[in-house]
């Protein structure tokens, strides 16, 4: 295989694709998690990652966030590699991982306000605080604003974590099983939020085990990208970095 562009597995929509992955190969330890995966996401589109445990959903999301380096291929935003402008990508992507990153001794308000200050340092403290209050209100967490993180249940922690998406808006949402520990009402809130985000031109990549309503989303079954056998990639590792 040469290094020429691999056509995206899913044909791009009419709008110019903004967020792309080309010929991605991911290696964790000595295991090839997936090979030759390409995706393309335009404003308003969503990508749903499905597949059994260990099929690479989380790895792909971490690649998209820029936490992991692909062994081959590249992730691009508007034709520019996200690894060449990490801070720029940090400003436009919001990553929600398995862990909630809630500090037990800080209150819900302090927990979220810190990230708003990171993402929007130009805002004043009062503005940031107003954004935090508006964000937690969407998940009906307003009465828990001054409760320390250690008093929250798993579902409340997850809702606090997801509130970060609203506190400082960004075009690209990367959600790794965001519905874990959420009740049905909160899943519905999340679905509405994703729909509103897409209607406003945002992009969403979401991995899940349960049904999440994402009308018109592209679906990736991750096992399709699993290497056929583990020696498949042996002659292709020359271009590997890391």
């Amino acid at each position: 295989m040469t290094d020429t562009l691999i056509p995206p597995a899913v044909p791009p929509a009419a709008a110019a694709p903004l967020f792309e992955g080309r010929g991605l190969t991911c290696i964790r330890g000595d295991r090839v998690v997936f090979t030759d995966l390409s995706f393309s996401l335009a404003p308003g589109q969503a990508l749903l990652l499905l597949g059994p445990n260990g099929s690479g959903k989380s790895s792909l999301l971490r690649l998209m966030a820029g936490l992991l380096h692909p062994a081959r291929g590249d992730v691009l935003w508007d034709d520019e590699s996200i690894f060449s402008d990490r801070e720029g990508h940090g400003a436009r992507a919001r990553y929600i991982g398995h862990q909630d990153a809630i500090k037990p001794v800080l209150t819900v308000r302090e927990n979220i306000a810190f990230w708003v200050r990171q993402w929007q340092p130009e805002r004043s403290a009062a503005q940031a605080d107003a954004q935090v209050e508006a964000a937690v209100a969407r998940f009906e967490m307003a009465r828990l604003l001054d409760v320390p993180g250690k008093m929250l249940s798993a579902g409340q922690k997850r809702r606090t974590n997801l509130s970060r998406l609203f506190a400082a808006p960004a075009p690209l949402w990367l959600l790794d099983e965001p519905t874990t520990a959420l009740d049905r009402a909160s899943v519905a809130v999340l679905e509405q939020a994703i729909a509103a985000h897409r209607a406003a031109g945002g992009m969403v990549v979401l991995s899940t085990h349960i049904d999440v309503a994402l009308p018109g989303a592209q679906e990736f079954h991750m096992d399709r990208f699993a290497p056929r056998n583990r020696y498949d990639w042996d002659d292709e590792t020359d271009g590997a970095e890391d």
Partner: protein, 221 residues
């Protein structure tokens, strides 16, 4: 800049609410120094001779105690992923975390040092220089330590590994810190030692946040 201050404020708040870490560091410093008069005997001459060395060595060990917590908590709860994905340069955020670490450990050590110097009969001429040298030296310790702390993230027995990595790098600070105090006690010029300590601080300030940031990116992979 606002993001830099925000991370300092957050880490200070965490340290204040959890409390134990910086108190533990100062207590360790005090207790270890107090052991020396018991160990080597209370003769003024002996204590006076070793005072500078004892204070510096114990300060090194004490400041290392809390290092493994510098990034560990953020690493475990997923905050580190988000910190590395911040739109703010990672090295700036590392510097913020190091500043908070110094304020919660280095600064208390600096305040405790003169009191302990009295206990060890350090000559009065050495007091001021001891404080100035520690003011220049302890931030260097925190900066070098941050690189070690970032490198051992995710390793089992990280604390032991960390001391093996970091202690050798602390030696130059120790050498010039002790020699500054000794020179002051003996009435010599201390300018050279203080300048070398400042130079070490400035180079650590330039290199360590960058090195620690690269190590953190490796750790979250």
């Amino acid at each position: 800049m606002a993001a830099f201050l925000a991370i300092i404020r957050r880490d200070l708040r965490l340290a204040l609410r959890q409390g134990s870490d910086s108190l533990m560091v100062v207590m360790f410093f005090v207790l270890t120094v107090v052991l020396f008069p018991f160990g080597v005997g209370p003769e003024t001459g002996v204590l006076e001779r070793i005072a500078a060395g004892v204070l510096w060595v114990t300060a090194l060990l004490a400041s290392m105690l809390s290092l493994d917590r510098l990034f560990q908590a953020d690493y475990e709860d997923g905050s580190l992923d988000l910190i590395t994905l911040s739109p703010v340069p990672l090295s700036l955020l590392v510097m913020g975390k190091v500043a908070a670490h110094w304020l919660t450990t280095g600064l208390p050590l600096l305040l405790a040092a003169p009191v302990l110097a009295v206990l060890l009969h350090l000559n009065q001429d050495g007091f001021l220089i001891l404080i100035v040298a520690m003011l220049l030296g302890t931030p260097t310790l925190s900066l070098i330590g941050a690189v070690g702390a970032a490198l051992v993230l995710g390793a089992r027995r990280g604390g032991v590994l960390l001391s093996l990595l970091v202690l050798p790098l602390y030696i130059p600070v120790l050498v010039f810190g002790v020699s500054a105090v000794d020179a002051a006690v003996m009435g010599f010029e201390v300018r050279a030692q203080l300048l070398v300590l400042s130079a070490m601080l400035l180079s650590a300030l330039a290199l360590c946040p960058w090195a620690a940031a690269s190590a953190l990116r490796q750790a979250v992979e």
